[in-house]
Amino acid sequence: MNDIILEAKGIKKYFPIKKGFFMREVGQVKAVDDIDFVIRRGETLGLVGESGCGKSTLGRTLIRLYEPTAGEIKFDGADFLKSSGSDLRNMRRHIQMIFQDPYASLDPRMTVGQIIEQPFVIHNLLEPKERELRVKQLLELVGLKASHVNRYPHEFSGGQRQRISIARAIALEPKLIICDEPVSALDVSIQAQILNLLKDLQERLNLTYVFISHDLSVIEHVCDRIAVMYLGRIVEIASREVLFNNPQHPYTQALMSSIPSIGAGKKKMSRVLTGEIPSPINPPSGCAFHPRCPYKMDICTQKMPLLRGSTEHLRACHLELDQETLLTTQTKELL
């Protein structure tokens, strides 16, 4: 069996900006701009970045909730973007999604049983009796009680609702699940429960995850490989160990040093990054990060850096590696 489950090439998603009486298109938001990557079977790929970096748009494009403006997606070797009709439906069965807000992603007028049964109804699978049994099994699998089947979403807490979303996502035994900030809306003690549940299910059901989050400590906990995004592009992608031990892109380094950590002590914080995230409507020329980058060179304002390095560790930066290691050690000494 092929060990690559999904391959994305040159994915772009531009949203038009329309103005005036005739709604003429006056510009574009380049939410996702020319992204290539692969997802390996059984792994958890993390997408991390700050708001507006395009991580959620990319996640939604991967399951065609948004049609990409350009690019190619191969799922299990077949062309996902060109497929339609029953082929498409069949493929979609294998890619599911868990959303951030468990209050908005469940229909308040449906019972939990109906919600989890929906995927079977849509794909016309199983007899009603079997469905009922399966729904109850799923509820127990995610740590709820089978007797909850006739309750409504509002009767559950945030963590329990997220469990319902998870039950719905795994109902059809998918191969790939896109988790879009699945724990961001939850309290710390509940986050841990959901993260553990996702991990257990991955082992039991042989799932592949794309895990989208802005929280690097959560990303470090769950992901095998991590892609760091900035303004619609991947700036660095590597395995967890490599990325956390040796972050090479200045943005990744800044992101890591911005995380407040327990035990660091009350300290004088050194300002790591100045300025704000630019607008994706009018991104800076060259490297999009250059207005905030502490190592900015002339070339950075003119030329967009491409992802380069070994296949295990790619980064998009003009700095030469040895120059960069030098700078990193200097920064460490300063801190």
Binding site: G159, S261, G263, L273
Partner: protein, 322 residues
Amino acid sequence: MNPVVEVKDLETTFDLKSGPFRAVNRISYSIDQGQTLGIVGESGCGKSVTSFSLMRLIEKPGRVSHGQFFLNGKEVLSLKEHEIEDIRGGQMAMIFQEPMTALNPVLTIGYQMDEQIQKHLNLNAKDSRDRAIEMLQLVGIPSARERYEAYPHQLSGGMRQRAMIAMALSCNPRFLIADEPTTALDVTIQAQILELFQSLQEKMNMTVQFITHDLGVISEVSDKVLVMYGGQTCETGPTQDLLNSPCHPYTAALIESRPRMGHRVSRLKTIEGSVPAPHEFPKGCPFANRCTRVKTECWTEKPSLQQLSHTIERGVACFNPL
């Protein structure tokens, strides 16, 4: 030296249809001049209600039903409404979590600042404008003169939070309450705001009460910590001491359930169940139904805050501490 802030047996009750609910249940603490107290807890633990009670912003069906709050030796909770207006925004100020909802969307930033400055500092229109612009510059807002004329929606999230800090600090408060001031922000912006906050606190020698659910943030900004659960104090103490050797099972579980960078574990420890609904808290210790070290008396009696033997600064409310 007397502490700037002293809270004694604060109790805030909400008269709900189902009966009275104590959102804050007899909490006491004090903060010395120039120090920061961090209040940590999950949603519904009463940390925001505590702050609103001190600012006298509790509205019906809630009321402060017991307790005292001394600010520089002056009792605040018994003041009349017009007396409190002289203090609120002046001697004590508050920064809210959501700058978009805390600022008035139809008034300019400048107008909202002037209103406060003119009242508390007795300045005329021109001087107050200068003061407002000076404050906006102080918090690092570029082209402060133009921003003074801007409406809240014209600023980004980070800039709005800066504007709110400028507003809160414009009348030189002695006591500042910051209620999750960085929760809605991105991490790199959060780092900028926390840094700004610390340097301003030092410059103005302010006493701060900092509320957050993020233990990492608490660790970096506060001198002392108070951990809340179900409206009660679980544990208090100097920040690093408390985070390094927590005594209350809830504090310990809270620390361990959070993934920490550089300390990867294969499985996170969890706290079973979730925070109960207002009327479903156990009779004794509010944490009893989720605690792994629960004993029989925990169900029937409320543990009081006891000093730890090895240090007078640490307190814990537990019958079976770690």
